[in-house]
């Protein structure tokens, strides 16, 4: 390694600087503010009172918090797997010539554009026991015994919400996969066909390896989305009920912050959640992005 008197190349740093500045000011500073407040008892209004680690010990001893963490993990894993498998399959179909290709590509994307208010009304009515579409359909095909308390049975409600989340974001992930698949050079497939590899073999040996970085993006987005931004969808669908069966970390943290006026505990729980996501996020990143040719 030559250190010597070589001038430091500022260009890469300058390129990173705007992002670092913005990010530090509006994400990291508030984050440290939250971390700092997690050592205080604070209702959001009156003078904060320093209580050391009490918010953390209260959170750790809060069984509802751990229940919500458990739901968050189930939710995150289900959503990530289902979204990615379905989106991949849809993209795999839509990347080739099918009738009404553009129409399908646009149509399946539409739920992404819908507001959560509409989703809340729509899906709770789709699941409705008296006039809901699902139960009407099951009655129509004579499968009344399949009718369940979609949103009212504590054993099922979480899965019903997962379905809505998958439905909402499927189109987005499909588009990302489509973009990735479009970018794979046709030459690979031609060469494979000449070698006599069939569709399935091509999928395993060409499409999936070539899509590695797209898969990383998609998995990370759905995983962290389920940890850090599933508040809206759970809130409009069930608000955490019935009997806390759909309570996820974010709904519980927001309840603590704004309904129970316990900002300190909410911040402590956010920090615990962050620690979990941090560990999982980095493990996932390390496993999945080892081999993209650039050292990071």
């Amino acid at each position: 390694m030559r250190i010597g008197k070589r001038k430091i190349d500022t260009f890469p740093y300058l390129m990173c600087l705007p992002a670092i500045i913005l990010f530090t000011i509006f994400i990291i500073l508030p984050f440290f503010d939250g971390l700092y407040m997690s050592f205080f008892k604070w209702d959001g209004f009156s003078e904060p009172e320093f209580i050391g680690l009490r918010n953390y010990s209260n959170s750790i001893h809060d069984s509802l918090f751990w229940l919500s963490m458990k739901h968050t993990f189930i939710y995150a894993i289900l959503v990530t797997v289902i979204k990615n498998v379905l989106a991949f399959l849809l993209a795999y179909i839509l990347v080739r010539k099918v009738p009404f290709q553009t129409l399908f590509r646009t149509g399946i994307y539409l739920p992404v554009t819908l507001s959560y208010v509409v989703i809340g009304v729509l899906w709770s009515w789709v699941y409705n026991p008296t006039f809901g579409l699902i139960n009407s359909f099951l009655t129509m095909i004579g499968k009344e015994e399949w009718i369940l308390g979609w949103l009212s049975d504590p054993d099922i409600a979480l899965y019903s919400v997962v379905v809505v989340d998958v439905w909402k974001w499927l189109g987005y992930h499909m588009v990302l996969y489509l973009a990735g698949m479009q970018a794979i050079s046709k030459d690979y497939y031609e060469a494979a066909s000449i070698d006599g590899a069939n569709g399935f073999k091509q999928l395993i040996h060409i499409t999936i390896p070539q899509l590695n970085s797209t898969i990383v993006v998609n998995v990370l987005m759905s995983l962290t989305g389920a940890f850090a931004s599933n508040y809206d969808i759970v809130n409009v669908m069930t608000g955490g009920g019935p009997a806390n069966s759909t309570e996820v970390s974010l709904t519980y943290i927001v309840s603590n912050a704004f309904r129970y006026s316990n900002m300190g505990k909410a911040n402590a729980m956010s920090m615990i959640l962050f620690a979990f996501v941090f560990v999982f996020g980095f493990i996932q990143l390390r496993i999945m992005s080892r081999e993209d040719g650039y050292d990071v």
Binding site: M15, L22, L90, P111, T214, A228, S229, F274
Partner: protein, 278 residues
């Protein structure tokens, strides 16, 4: 079974699967639109069907009651403004991280990635405090910078993944052509990562277009309100006027759909053009 009939069968199966997904994706949007044409009684009695007596009065009501025209312009300012900030910021950083060698690169990347793991929604009040101290509360610029900052982690991550797939020799070729490094980035590399840029536009654009929480905290003046704030007018303490709400939401959703349709075309072309043999 001949190869040809098998192929046709497969094609039918695909089309059928697509059709199912198409219907469950498109119907809700159509349903929202139908709902906006119903009166309150019909909204609750004829739930799934088309309005028997469609009326546009809900649109007039939504438009006038919430001054949607003004809010629409505000929303465009904030969304476009945020994109104008976040696209260059994210592209610069991710380019450096993906393709340049420098000390501390790994740490910078890890640092920015932290943003993916921070639940920003919970930190609304601290974010407001920071903006307040900088004098950025109750301004579009404040919202724009906050939105841009919130997009950085994911944006850098996505853009980087597009940059790393490009062939390694590109910059060298550009420098031979006589470009500076920044010039080669803007003229040669960035166009090849157009798909990444469009991905950010459709994702962040959409998130920002519908963002309510931060906007509600940061904006205090009526004339600076964005669209989601105006739409919240229709959600009451105990009751919600759904037909009017749906009319307002239809107005808010239409531009997004149009932009997606336009983007989608250039997106797919862009990707095809950027598909360089590696």
């Amino acid at each position: 079974m001949t190869f040809k009939t098998r192929r046709t069968l497969w094609k039918c199966l695909w089309t059928f699967i697509l059709l199912i997904f198409f219907v469950i994706s498109v119907y809700p949007v159509v349903w929202m639109f139908f709902g906006s044409l119903k009166d309150t009684n019909e909204f609750y009695t004829n739930i799934w069907g088309f309005s028997t007596n469609p009326s546009w009065s809900n649109y007039a009501k939504a438009w006038n009651n919430a001054a949607l025209g003004e809010k629409l312009i505000n929303n465009i300012i904030v969304t476009v403004g945020s994109l104008l900030v976040l696209i260059p910021v994210n592209s610069f950083a991710s380019y450096a991280i993906a393709r340049l060698k420098f000390k501390g690169k790994r740490w910078i990347y890890m640092y920015l990635l932290l943003g993916i793991m921070i639940p920003t929604g919970v930190l609304g009040i601290p974010t407001f405090t920071v903006a307040l101290n900088m004098g950025l509360n109750n301004s579009h610029l404040g919202l724009i910078l906050v939105y841009a900052a919130q997009s950085i982690a994911m944006g850098v991550f996505i853009m980087r993944s597009f940059f790393v797939t490009l062939p390694k020799a590109l910059e060298e070729a550009a420098i031979v052509d006589g470009c500076t490094r920044f010039g080669s980035f803007v003229k040669i590399i960035l166009p090849l990562a157009k798909a990444g840029v469009v991905t950010q536009v459709i994702f962040n654009g959409l998130t920002i277009w519908n963002e309510y929480f931060m906007a509600n905290i940061m904006i205090t003046s009526q004339h600076l309100q964005t669209l989601p704030l105006a739409i919240a007018n229709f959600t009451g303490q105990h009751t919600t006027d759904y037909p009017v709400l749906f009319a307002a939401l239809s107005i808010a959703t239409l531009p997004v759909i149009v932009i997606y349709v336009i983007c989608q075309k250039s997106f797919i072309e862009g990707v095809a053009a950027g598909a360089v043999k590696g």
